[in-house]
């Protein structure tokens, strides 16, 4: 009886929206909506909340507002908590789980169990090594090696640098740092004077950089992961007239600084790259297209999808006049967003539905409807052992530069 009601509801929905193709799987909630869980690690930094807000905004954008029931679950930083949350989601009959995975290995068993019960797993930013999960990540884009080369180029191949890293033991931090070290190790005259963990947080980065500057006031450059705006603040604090080349991620504060002539005059150069919250929206849209039968599921073991690595050098920074990325703009001013706001929150090709209220408040853009992904949107990522696959081999060109060329030879 219950099944009949569900089928009826689904049929009504099919008629109403006509977006569901005949091959679509059957939704599991009583009202015929897809039951989708948004599983987060922690909430509490700009990146995590923007990524979550994007998914919430998309789920509230027509026609998803009629067809998707989105439930948000925050698990904290402990993999065990996320494992038990996944278990509950599977038990509750989830159709799909969009998730920021806390660990690349610890979740494998529960993910496999979910796959066996036809739950779609879409990981964003971070990855899992279980082959039945989809990983949507910029990681394979080579943030570490490309930004390291950019820094080496700026420094002419020699100088004292700091590494401002992420969270100890995190596979994302390790992939970034391995890539960067692959480059730095080729240049014997690059000296790593200090290496510290900044937990991808602006303020922690600022304090850790201040400590390192106490020992090495003559630093020549800083290679930073997220939190990079703190590096600039610490440099200015130590010496208001001297900046050095800094490479980092996508905070609004950093991008605006890169493009600021005063800062450039003090010596700031660099590139803004790295992780974008937009990955979550991309993951969610691919998942919905598969659920709705508009896109074929990828074969098990070939589900690693690369999100294009953002790459914005100082001369490419362009301030947005409106509330979304348009006409090639890529940063918002201080009166619209705080300096920790992660700029790579939009993607005109993949996520045209979004605007600032989506990223900041999780609300749909008025008048927007879900647009299909471009046909060539999905690009497979290379294997990265221990990051997105198990028992696999990394390709020989894993650390090959894709965004920049070496202008200084080792």
């Amino acid at each position: 009886m219950k099944t009949t009601t569900k089928t009826l509801a689904l049929a009504a929905m099919l008629a109403g929206t006509t977006i569901l193709a005949s091959g679509a799987a059957q939704a599991k909630t009583a009202d015929g909506k897809w039951l989708i869980y948004l599983s987060l690690s922690y909430s509490g930094n700009a990146w995590q909340s923007e990524a979550a807000n994007i998914v919430k905004a998309l789920a509230a954008t027509p026609p998803f507002n009629e067809t998707v029931e989105l439930v948000e679950v925050i698990s904290g930083t402990d993999p065990q908590a996320q494992i038990s949350d996944y278990e509950s989601m599977i038990a509750n009959g989830a159709d799909g789980i969009v998730s920021f995975p806390i660990s690349s290995n610890a979740l494998n068993r529960v993910v496999r169990r979910g796959c066996n019960e036809d739950v779609l797993f879409f990981m964003y930013d971070g990855t899992v090594t279980e082959s039945c999960a989809y990983n949507i990540s910029f990681l394979s884009g080579g943030f570490g090696e490309n930004t390291a080369q950019a820094l080496v180029n700026e420094l002419g191949g020699k100088g004292k640098i700091f590494l401002s890293r992420g969270v100890p033991g995190n596979s994302v931090d390790e992939r970034h740092t391995d890539g960067a070290m692959h480059i730095f190790n080729q240049y014997p005259e690059i000296e790593i004077a200090a290496e510290y963990y900044s937990y991808w947080d602006d303020r922690t980065t600022q304090q850790e950089t201040a400590k390192a500057l106490a020992a090495h006031p003559d630093v020549d450059g800083v290679w930073a992961q997220a939190g990079e705006f703190g590096v600039i603040q610490a440099l200015l604090q130590a010496n208001p007239d001297r900046l050095v080349p800094v490479t980092g991620e996508n905070s609004a504060g950093f991008r605006l600084a890169l493009a600021n002539p005063d800062m450039q005059a003090k010596g700031l150069r660099g590139v803004s790259s790295g992780s974008g919250p937009a990955q979550s929206g991309f993951a969610f849209k691919i998942m919905m297209e598969i659920l709705n039968g508009q896109r074929d599921a990828l074969p098990d073991g070939q589900r690693n999808i690369e999100y294009p690595l953002p790459w914005v050098p100082a001369d490419a920074v362009k301030v947005c006049e409106g509330d979304t990325f348009e006409e090639g703009c890529n940063v918002f001013t201080e009166d619209k967003v705080p300096s920790s706001f992660v700029s790579e929150v939009f993607n005109p090709e993949l996520l045209p539905e979004l605007s600032l209220i989506s990223a900041l408040d999780g609300l749909p853009t008025p008048g927007a409807t879900i647009q299909p992904l471009p046909a060539e949107a999905v690009k497979l990522a290379p294997d990265m052992p221990g990051i997105n696959c198990r028992g696999c081999d990394a390709p020989a060109n894993l650390y090959e530069l894709t965004k920049i060329e070496a202008t200084v030879q080792p």
Partner: protein
């Protein structure tokens, strides 16, 4: 409490030579030892980096430890009355988030905004104090719970992304130098003096020590123990809020994680500074020294270029060493040794 004319009951009961200990109070020795340790560490750090061991390193240490000192003052008072304030981290976040959103990048109304924030934070502390005294909740549980609630309110209020910026005047204050010394260091000096005055030389401080030593006796003696404890939690939260305001001004914005790095260090600074974790004994100058010790340590470790694991091990090791050095027995022994010579 530990002023030179009185001794704790257990001390006066000791049988060893106490005539000499009248001349130098154990408190002075404790505080001197901490600052001595800090000095030794700073001088020794020259071996690690040639830029170390100078005034600029001292400046960095004082600057960075000021945040810890501000919130450790409140924590120290709470510990003095046998409590513990685990809501410090969340209240720092409240202070930061409120200053970013209320100041919103403008100097107008700054003189109203700052007291408003401090008052709002103090209210959280007063709720803690009422929970601990009136409802007899263990401080650990009460402050942990209120911390979680307050943090979640921040999360809900900001949607995860704290908006706005602190007032430019506050930002300028954090960057400014007065007579060549960063203004937050001047603030630290004034705060340390006022804090010491309140904790060790005011009737309020003496009452707190009495409550911490023996709440029942203090009550019998006619002290309003409940009100004192509630006030102390209020002060602690206001101090945390103050730290949050300054941190947001320092970083030119708030993050929800901003208080996390201060909870355990605020307790550690108090204990390393010679206070008893069981209450009833401690000085603020010691706490300031404890905060400086912790900051010096992390500055040096950061320059060592060793793995994170080793850093943490060494951090723990040095804290343990400091605590062992600060044990009274070690001092009594040392003091007896020195005194016998003259």
């Amino acid at each position: 409490m530990m002023s030179s004319d009185t001794g704790t009951p257990e001390r006066s009961a000791r049988t060893e030579d106490t005539r000499t200990s009248q001349r130098i109070s154990p408190t002075v020795v404790t505080v001197a030892t901490i600052y001595g340790l800090v000095l030794v560490m700073i001088l020794a750090s020259r071996l690690i980096s040639p830029s170390f061991g100078g005034l600029s390193q001292l400046e960095t240490i004082l600057y960075l430890s000021s945040f810890l000192v501000f919130c450790a003052f409140g924590q120290g008072l709470v510990i003095l009355v046998r409590g513990l304030d685990l809501s410090v981290a969340s209240v720092i976040t409240v202070g930061g988030v409120l200053s970013a959103s209320l100041m919103d990048g403008s100097n107008t109304g700054l003189l109203h905004v700052i007291p408003t924030i401090l008052l709002a934070c103090a209210l959280i502390g007063i709720v803690n104090g009422i929970g601990v005294t009136v409802f007899n909740m263990p401080p650990f549980i009460m402050t942990m719970a209120s911390g979680i609630i307050v943090y979640s309110l921040c999360l809900g209020f900001t949607g995860g992304t704290p908006r706005g910026f602190p007032a430019p005047a506050m930002n300028d204050f954090m960057q400014a130098r007065v007579f060549g010394i960063p203004s937050p260091i001047w603030l630290l000096v004034v705060f340390a003096a006022l804090g010491t005055l309140v904790q060790s030389f005011s009737s309020f401080g003496r009452k707190l020590t009495a409550v911490g030593n023996n709440p029942e006796a203090a009550y019998v003696a006619g002290l309003p123990a409940r009100r004192l404890i509630i006030a102390v939690y209020g002060i602690s939260a206001a101090c945390a809020g103050f730290t949050g305001i300054l941190l947001a001004s320092y970083a030119n914005g708030a993050t929800l994680r901003m208080g996390d790095d201060y909870l355990l260090p605020s307790i550690a600074a108090v204990v390393v500074g010679g206070s008893s974790i069981l209450g009833g004994r401690g000085t603020f100058l010691g706490t300031v020294g404890g905060a400086m010790l912790l900051t010096t340590l992390s500055t040096i470790l950061s320059a060592l270029g060793i793995g994170q694991g080793w850093k943490t091990i060494m951090e723990g090791g040095v804290i343990l060493l400091a605590l062992i050095l600060l044990r009274n027995q070690v001092f009594d022994g040392l003091r007896a040794l020195v005194m016998r010579k003259d």
